[in-house]
Symmetry: C2
Subunit: 241 residues, 2 copies
Amino acid sequence: MSLLKSLLLNLGQHDSVSGEEARLLSSVITKEALFSTGDDIVAIGSRPIYSSLLVDGFAARYKMLADGGRQITALHVAGDFVDLHAFLLKTMDHGIVALSPCHVAFAEHGDLKMITEKAPHLARLLWLDTLVDGAIHREWIVAMGRRSRKSQLAHLICELYVRLRGVQRTTDWSFHFPLSQAEMADVLGLSVVHMNRVIQSLRREGLISWTHHTISILDWVRLQEVAEFDPTYLSMMREPR
Amino acid sequence: MSLLKSLLLNLGQHDSVSGEEARLLSSVITKEALFSTGDDIVAIGSRPIYSSLLVDGFAARYKMLADGGRQITALHVAGDFVDLHAFLLKTMDHGIVALSPCHVAFAEHGDLKMITEKAPHLARLLWLDTLVDGAIHREWIVAMGRRSRKSQLAHLICELYVRLRGVQRTTDWSFHFPLSQAEMADVLGLSVVHMNRVIQSLRREGLISWTHHTISILDWVRLQEVAEFDPTYLSMMREPR
DNA sequence: AACCTGCGAGAACAAATGTTAAGGCGCACC
DNA sequence: GGTGCGCCTTAACATTTGTTCTCGCAGGTT
């Protein structure tokens, strides 16, 4: 998919983006790169001078613990700015890893600063993008803290489906999903064995199928019920910001 | 504490705030209110036209689940903007409750928009404030997913201590903390009984004391070790943003 | 003084989740 | 065509965490 298109698919979900804004934004994206599965796109502790737009692929933010455990704190799909927050946070407090081959484009922080000075509406859309990240974080906290593991997984699948549909990465009720069960366990904060048990239970109830890196939602209504999924937090509504 | 002071204590931790910026910000804070313990400061589903600055007190963002469970997704202390994100997200996807008597001040969204247009550096500091929220969310996700409950609690206490010290709400190694164990359980995602067990274990090891709504850190070094606490994510470093 | 009530603490038991180990299956590589 | 490897799956067992219940204490009320 083209660089500009993935940009607009993402930011344009929340508010209308003018042609001029789109041109400005694409003009500050001066570099691109490809990453292989498992590569670090951004290293923990680094102080990037670029922010990275994921044009295609799957990536994750993660932290490692002393005992070797890994927790994934965010999943990113095509169209996501994976480290826009580093523009102001400066120091990466986590790493970002490619979970599939990833096509990434870069915008210099100096140019982002220019956008905050010259294009306030566009700047607000970028700010909003990081706010949606935060809203997703909060939903994950709720899922980890107070939902059953089955509900947590169901919720994540609902979220992924809606986000991927927003950037046209679904076909009917299916989407490509390259994560292994072990990687998924690092998302939900479970052991691999229990991750497998939870997946089995959604399968057994006929809610999803998940094979060959493809997830299919077999019963959206019941999946949503199990998840208590309410997509409000994704801010998919297009309105003035 | 004065309104302006709590503002500067918070934003000024990350970068220097000019006198003009401080005046502009305080000029857009046009209303104030007091809330009692248990009051909702902002209701879920509402579309606020003000963002709320917590001048004094403790507040929490939370979501309720169908089974009556509650998960607290953020704790706020003096100086925090509790719903700055609503400026752009528009619809509250969670509620905000006062966990103590709270003194709150309000800034109109229209004025915040003006700030993004006229005062880009100040706007970036506000953006940053929401990014630190996100960084804290990520750290909570890590703690919920991959730390032991003892480590999770130790980490939260370290975080609270550092944040409260930043706004001058600590005396030596102690701080006032009004949450009950049941409320704390809604933060960590535990049952009340297990919350109590985890607190006891930190007490038994001589790391903290916690009585009469006061937490004291008895052994900062070991508490930090148990928590694997690294304050980088709080962006306490003052640098150009 | 007697009586609430909210909160903290603890015991006993149930359920969820982790650990370790083993086997199977598909796929890349020799 | 075998072989090794990554990944999924299952089983058995250990540990963590939740549930229910009881008790005690402090503070406020009558």
